[in-house]
Every structure is written in C-alpha cells, then in structure tokens.
C-alpha cells in the first residue's frame, strides 16, 4: 500500500482544471474520506456535496478515475491506480464549483417524464391490496431502490449526445409507475416519454446498469417502456 495518495481534484467551474494534492492513505479509506481530508486539512475552500456517508442519500456521486461512483461507498483500494486518484464533478451536468454539480436538469427530467405518482384513490378509500408476486409489482419493485444519485445520468452516452434525452433514472422511475397498479397517470406518462428525448433515444449501451451503485438495470426498464409505448401507439392511446 502507498503511504501517500496523489489526488487530483477538479477546482473551479466549467473552465476549471485539476489540482493535485497529497493525502495519507489509510486502511478501509473511501473516496469521500479523501475529499473530506483535503477540505479539512489542506484547502477549506474545496466545494463538494455529501450527507449520509452510508450510501442512502445519493448526494456524494463524483467522477473517480473516469467513472461516476458513489464516493462514500467506493474504497480507495479498489479504484486507485498506482496510488493516484482523479476526482471530478459528475459529467453531463453543469458544474457549480469544484466537485459540486447543478442537479436541476436531472430532477427536472424526472418531472418531464411524469415521475410523480398519480393517485387513483382518496384517503376515504380502502388501502389498495397489492400482491407482491404479480409480474407488474415485481417489475416495479426491481427499480424502486433508486437513490437519485445521478450516476447513470452521468455515465450515459445518449445524455451526452442528446441534451433532450430524459436519461436512465427518470425513465426507470417512469417504468416503476407504469407498473404500479395504484397509479392513474400512465397515458400522460407514456405520451411524455415517447417524444424525441424519450425512451426510444436509448441505444442500450448499458453503462447505466453497469455503474448503478444499487445494481438496478435501467436499460431493462427502458426496453420495457419501448414495448409499452409501442403497444399504446398502436392502440391509439398515445400519438407521435
């Protein structure tokens, strides 16, 4: 094990550059530990985002040695190459400063994809009985553990090439709701994800499912949406 890590951190905004720091290497050290060390002991002006430190909140994602990762659960020993780390902000999102990106485009696309639950009952109705073993519920459950970290969005080539593309996370959320028997907003949702930036823009490169820290499979969800939207198009429920 190297006693010192050579850590290059992105400093500045979109036109910033990498600056290298020397950080002591420790046992069981995470990438977030490294960034925190720099901010607390070397340069307090370093900006980055984190909250829970245990892989729940999804706020600490950064680009580590070229790949987007959740830094609080990424051990340095697994990603450092020759004792070197290059840590930058998430790609495909505007840089605010240093390692903090503006997540608004990411969450706005959740809204565009009709990612909000559309209830069909009121508080006066009986609670819906959902059997966990039905194919629809199992499909919804498969994608429900998304923590909104933005890693899939940052890893996606289609997002990089097509600024209108809704992205893997928003479409996976749409797939969850499409399969939720309690939801009543599917026609509007399928229409929203059938435009030029919708699910049909996906090239199935599968970077999203390869790098998703929750081991979700957005590519499979998007493939499901493609099938569902085609059926809705032929039945006249949605238009092109």
């Amino acid at each position: 094990m190297h006693s010192e890590l050579s850590v290059s951190l992105w400093r500045g905004g979109e036109d910033g550059r990498y600056k290298t720091y020397s950080v002591p290497q420790c046992e069981s050290q995470t990438v977030l530990d490294v960034v925190t060390f720099v901010q607390r002991h070397i340069d307090p002006t370093l900006s980055y985002r984190f909250a829970c430190r245990v892989g729940v909140c999804g706020s600490c994602a950064m680009t580590v040695n070229g790949k987007p990762r959740w830094t609080c659960r990424t051990h340095v020993a697994k990603v450092a190459q020759g004792g070197r780390l290059e840590i930058g902000p998430l790609e495909n999102l505007p840089v605010i400063k240093d390692l903090a990106t503006d997540m608004r485009p990411f969450f706005e696309k959740w809204q565009e994809a009709k990612g909000a639950f559309a209830p069909t009952k009121t508080r006066h109705d009986a609670i819906a009985q959902i059997r966990p073993g039905t194919p629809e519920r199992m499909a919804a459950d498969a994608a429900i553990e998304c923590i909104n970290c933005g890693i899939c969005y940052s890893a996606c080539d289609t997002v990089r090439w097509n600024g209108d593309y809704l992205g893997p996370a928003a479409l996976t959320r749409a797939w969850t709701l499409v399969n939720d028997a309690r939801d009543g907003g599917n026609i509007a949702r399928l229409q929203a994800i059938s435009g030029s930036g919708g699910c049909h823009a996906c090239h199935s490169h599968q970077s999203c499912q390869q790098l998703c820290p929750q081991a979700l499979n957005p590519t499979a969800a998007i493939a499901g949406l493609k099938r569902r939207t085609v059926a809705a198009y032929f039945s006249g429920e949605i238009t092109a």
Binding site: W161, N162, S194, S196, G198, V230, Y233, A240
Partner: protein
C-alpha cells in the same frame, strides 16, 4: 427518435432480416453456378416476383437507413433535429431513387 420513427425503424429491420438472407443466398447461388449477367437478366426480366422482392428491399432500406442517419446527425452533428430530419429525407429519397433505378434495370423486359 419518437415512437413513430421507432416503429418504422424496427418494422423495416424486421422486413429486411429475411430479405438479406435470401439476397445473400442468391449471390452465393449465382457465383457458385457461374451465372453470367445474361443468365441473371434472363431470370429477372419480366419477373413480378423479383420486382416485388427487390422493390420491397429498396423501400425498407431507404426508410431504415434514413431514420438511422437522422439519429446520427442529431446526436453527432451541430444540426438541429429539424435539419437532421431534412437531410435524412433527402438521403432516403436518394437511396430510393438509386435502388428503384437498379430494380427497374434488371426486371423490365
């Protein structure tokens, strides 16, 4: 790509898959049997079946390739979606014209 273009691209791909297999089989047959141009033309001229086969092939290729080109231009060039669509339509019409010309040349008596 919207759902309508997606359906057209997948449908034309499904049409082309068996046509490509038959097309390659025909090429193998013609070369292994040592058929000359005159032999090929004697089989294709006046044939409604070959006209329909390659006519459908040309139509499917023109639609499929132009939708694909539209996506490439939209994602990889500074052209906007509308201009990429216009370029793709021109490309598709060119493919169709060249293809129809070739089909006509071999099937008209």
């Amino acid at each position: 790509m919207n759902v309508r273009l997606y359906v057209w691209q997948r449908a034309t791909a499904a049409i082309m898959a068996p046509l490509v297999v038959v097309h390659i089989a025909v090429i193998f047959y013609a070369t292994r049997q040592g058929l000359l141009a005159a032999d090929v033309l004697s089989r294709t001229r006046g044939s409604i079946a070959w006209a329909a086969f390659y006519g459908l092939f040309v139509a499917a290729v023109s639609i499929h390739a132009s939708i694909g080109l539209r996506n490439v231009l939209h994602e990889w060039s500074p052209l906007g979606e509308r201009r990429a669509g216009a370029c793709a339509i021109v490309f598709g019409l060119l493919l169709a014209a060249l293809g129809i010309r070739a089909v006509v040349a071999v099937v008209l008596p």
